[in-house]
């Protein structure tokens, strides 16, 4: 049986940063398991940038301002102790990855260049043209190669194995051979990214963001924190949901409705297009609902205009965005405005991290980082550029936490729990592959996405969400008899998709449950039937826990230190 001191699951920025940290320590065996080749992760898609107070573009910027912006951005649902820690570490994390080789764009002094981003009081977003995540991901990969991190490529995490004394390791699908394999580990870091694919047909996320790690932790009785908090990015391409980075607004893009109005004047007169994502997304959807968009139904959109920035600036600062608009919308932003509409972008909720300094969870030996985790620093709305900073800061913390834990751990876990889980999954997957008839995986997936977009999307109402909950339950029942459609053991991607759908359904059920019971509006969670924020009753995190087959709901107060909740205006 493969055995590691530290096993990291997921090769995005968070996972690779954690693996590197544990690997660089020396003396520990470190494995990095990932369901695709390491550089195929969502992290590589981040275009805009990474936040940290370097003071390069604005010497008056301070960590305190970053803290306040993040707290306010989170609509006061972020834990302020964790946010203070995070903002305090972000600049150092950025300088460190500069030293590791991240090629940042530079200012005239040769320092890392910084720009404005939504919801921030100073230009503190560091960038590399419009491929910041790509260069961070590849630099992390280079560093993992340097440190000889053992990569377990094409392995999909299925479940954690836990016995009476604690965590034993994980079981995974070896995609190449179609076998279920146990992997023993003293410490496990879950860094499997987000759950945006719940909204399959309108999301900026890659096909791989399917809540695998969240669901595995959930099945191991770790709560999912704030699963209802899903961020919609205002500028997805109309046809596909593919992201036009926030940089397009940060560099000065305008939003227009069908009457040619810059409609943000109605919603955020000061910040205009640079208001936070939740506000801009809601503004766009309101315009569409009130008949001021172009097109109809799922195909409706508004326009993002970059033309006034001029050819040179577009080519220099936004070349990737231009390529995407040309390829997927047949529009060259130098010449014409781009049709856009909000698109599911980021999962603020996730695996309940209880110790932000280590990424630790309620289960000893289990750590979580990145979008899979909920620390919570993003609360009800994440600021652009804070996620890349999150994965660098907390990826490192989780690497340290897991390495420390593994070093101090003397228990040799037995094989019993691992072998039992392996047998259980082997039987389940074999049965699913053998099954004929039944609904197709893609059909269930698409109906889930439709229910989530229409009933648990940007605007939410109790009655509609109850309908969504019933639909999700119905789909989960169908899932039990659905057909994989391929019984090969060699690189069976249909089987991978089957496993992913099960995880999406579990996450969606938790998200709907949390959303129905949060009878207030906060950040991205906009209840039309409860339009006001309710700090008396809801300044608290939702926790959804699996008890037997039941999804149980509980709450935990938000940590408030310096900043008392105040009205949020931009």
């Amino acid at each position: 049986m493969q055995t590691f001191d530290v096993l990291v699951i997921g090769s995005g920025g968070a996972g690779m940063r954690a693996a590197l940290e544990a690997g660089a320590r020396g003396g520990l065996s470190v494995g990095l398991m990932t369901k695709m080749f390491p550089t195929r992760s969502a992290t590589g898609m981040a275009q805009g940038g990474i936040n940290g107070v370097l003071g390069n573009a604005d010497p008056t910027d301070t960590v305190d301002k970053h803290i306040f912006d993040t707290v306010k951005g989170s609509d006061y649902l972020g834990d302020q102790d964790a946010i203070a820690f995070f903002c305090g570490q972000a600049a150092a994390a950025i300088r460190e990855i500069d030293y590791y080789g991240v090629p940042f764009s530079r200012d005239a002094k040769g320092q890392i260049a910084q720009r404005n981003f939504g919801g921030q009081s100073a230009p503190r977003t560091c960038f590399s043209a419009d491929k910041t995540g790509h260069v961070i991901l590849h630099t992390m990969y280079e560093q993992c190669l340097k440190h000889g991190v053992k990569m377990l490529t094409d392995r999909q995490l299925l479940d954690l194995a836990v016995d009476g004394d604690g965590l034993c390791g994980v079981v995974a699908l070896d995609i190449r051979t179609g076998t279920v394999v146990p992997v023993k580990a003293k410490a496990v870091v879950v860094a499997t990214g987000g759950a945006g694919r719940m909204y399959w047909s309108r999301t900026t996320n890659p096909f791989t963001s399917t809540a695998d790690g969240m669901a595995a932790c959930f099945r191991a009785s770790i709560p999912l924190k704030d699963p209802e908090m899903v961020q919609f990015h205002p500028t997805g391409l109309a046809g596909t949901g593919i992201l036009m980075s926030e940089a397009s607004r940060a560099e000065g893009g305008y939003l227009y409705n069908n009457a040619g109005e810059r409609f943000m004047a109605r919603y955020a007169p000061e910040k205009m297009e640079l208001a936070t994502r939740d506000l801009v997304s809601q503004a766009i959807e309101t315009e569409i609902r009130e008949g001021r968009g172009f097109g109809e139904g799922m195909n409706a959109y508004v326009l993002l205009d970059l033309r006034h920035l001029g050819r040179e600036k577009i080519l220099e600062r936004l070349p990737g965005i231009r390529d995407l608009a040309i390829t997927f919308e047949q529009v060259d932003p130098i010449e014409a405005p781009i049709p856009i509409r909000p698109s599911c972008h980021y999962t603020m909720g996730g695996v309940d991290v209880t110790n932000f300094r280590t990424g630790g969870t309620a289960l000893a030996g289990l750590f979580a980082a990145g979008e899979a985790a909920c620390v919570s620093i993003h609360g009800a709305n994440r600021l652009g550029g804070n996620s890349l900073a999150d994965i660098m800061v907390f990826g490192k913390c989780a690497g340290v936490g897991a390495a420390d834990y593994a070093q101090a751990q003397s228990r040799e876990a037995g094989d019993g729990a691992l072998m039992a889980k392996t047998a259980e999954w082997e039987a389940r997957l074999a049965a699913a592959m053998a099954r004929g008839g039944g609904p197709a995986v893609a059909s269930i997936r698409d109906r889930l996405a439709e229910a989530m977009w229409n009933k648990v999307g940007i605007f939410r109402r109790g009655a509609e969400m109850e309908e969504a909950a019933a639909i999700v339950d119905g789909l989960a029942a169908e899932y039990e008899r659905c057909a994989v459609g391929d019984d090969s053991r060699v690189f069976n991607t249909a089987l991978v998709n089957y496993v992913e759908l099960g995880n999406l359904l579990a996450m969606a059920k938790a998200a709907v449950l949390g959303a129905i019971n949060r009878t207030e509006s906060r950040g991205c969670h906009l209840r039309e039937d409860y339009p006001a924020r309710d700090d008396v009753n809801f300044l608290k995190h939702t926790l959804v826990t699996l008890a037997g087959a039941q999804y149980e709901l509980s709450y935990r107060p938000v940590v408030v230190t310096e900043h008392q909740p105040a009205e949020r205006r931009y």
Partner: protein
């Protein structure tokens, strides 16, 4: 056009076979859209990989009618216009195939690691303070950082197709070149040596890697830059560098190549002796005169001035 046909080279882990799928045409779609359509409506067993669907993750590269492309960004209509209703899809060339269109990257990662593709920062920088770099210096590495490790260049590389013992995938040279060109790196020779030892001078300049790269990376140019740098660093004890130096020397001296001495300068006396039969054949046909030492061409001073200017421009 109502129906599109994908003729796909499949492999189930043991045997290879061809299969055709046809589906209804829709305008403004991509090659990946067609693959997904087949998988979701006709045959779930068709294996391929894709993640970002926006040309940044590098997962979806496949060969369409003999050319590597990113399936997610390649417009179907353009291909149909060029090739007609049937497209032939195959896995990338020069990669081991796992199943259908899925190839094995693991051995490539091992080879990539040999080139030490990581920054070895100069002493003046530290993890605490980070680095400094001018905008102009950043621009020197900007193109190489676009590489998404999609493998398209490797698929079409003519040199790699003859075997990978003495040549790397083009993107490996690009990665090495990136660090050699990075002003923050203080150990160019460390990145140079591995590629010098494997193939740096063996690229056949076919430019396939440049024309096939979906991210406007130009591995062939990086190879040229690495060669220049290796000579600048005095790493000339290899046939490629000797050939280039002999070439430059001849041009500077006489304005023309001296084929006779070229082989000796390139391969050394012993090795060029092994080519004697070839030389004798040339001699017999009057193509090589061992007693002829070419006189300088007319205007040799101009040639020398150009060489001098070129050298200065590079430094």
């Amino acid at each position: 056009m109502e129906q599109v046909v994908y003729r796909i080279r499949r492999f189930d882990g043991e045997k290879e076979f061809w299969q055709e799928y046809s589906f209804a045409h829709e305008p403004n779609k991509t090659v990946l859209w067609g693959l997904l359509k087949i998988k979701e409506t006709a045959d779930p067993s068709l294996a391929f990989v894709a993640a970002c669907r926006s040309a940044v993750c590098g997962a979806c590269a496949v060969r369409v009618n003999g050319e590597a492309v990113l399936a997610c960004e390649t417009p179907l209509d353009a291909l149909l216009g060029r090739f007609g209703a049937t497209l032939v899809l195959e896995p990338l060339g020069n990669f081991p195939v796992i199943r259908d269109l899925v190839v094995d990257w693991e051995p490539k990662a091992v080879r990539l690691a040999e080139a030490k593709p990581w920054l070895m920062p100069r002493d003046e920088f530290s993890a605490e303070a980070g680095c400094r770099q001018t905008q102009a210096e950043f621009k020197k590495i900007n193109a190489q950082t676009n590489c998404i490790l999609c493998g398209s260049c490797a698929s079409e590389c003519n040199k790699l197709s003859t075997g990978d013992d003495d040549f790397y995938e083009p993107f490996v040279y690009t990665k090495a070149g990136k660090f050699v060109a990075d002003s923050r790196d203080g150990a160019a020779a460390e990145h140079l040596r591995p590629v010098l030892a494997r193939g740096l001078w063996k690229c056949v300049h076919c430019q396939e890697c440049v024309t096939k790269c979906p991210k406007r990376v130009a591995p062939a140019e990086d190879i040229a830059a690495l060669r220049r740098e290796s000579i600048r660093q005095g790493l000339t004890d290899n046939p490629g560098a000797r050939h280039a130096l002999a070439f430059a020397g001849d041009i500077t001296n006489s304005g023309r190549l001296n084929e006779t001495t070229m082989a000796v300068k390139t391969d050394g006396l012993l090795k060029s002796a092994t080519r004697l039969p070839f030389a004798l054949r040339l001699l017999r046909r009057g193509k090589l005169n061992p007693f002829h030492f070419p006189a300088p061409v007319e205007g040799i001073d101009g040639v020398r001035a150009i060489v001098k200017a070129a050298k200065e421009a590079k430094e």
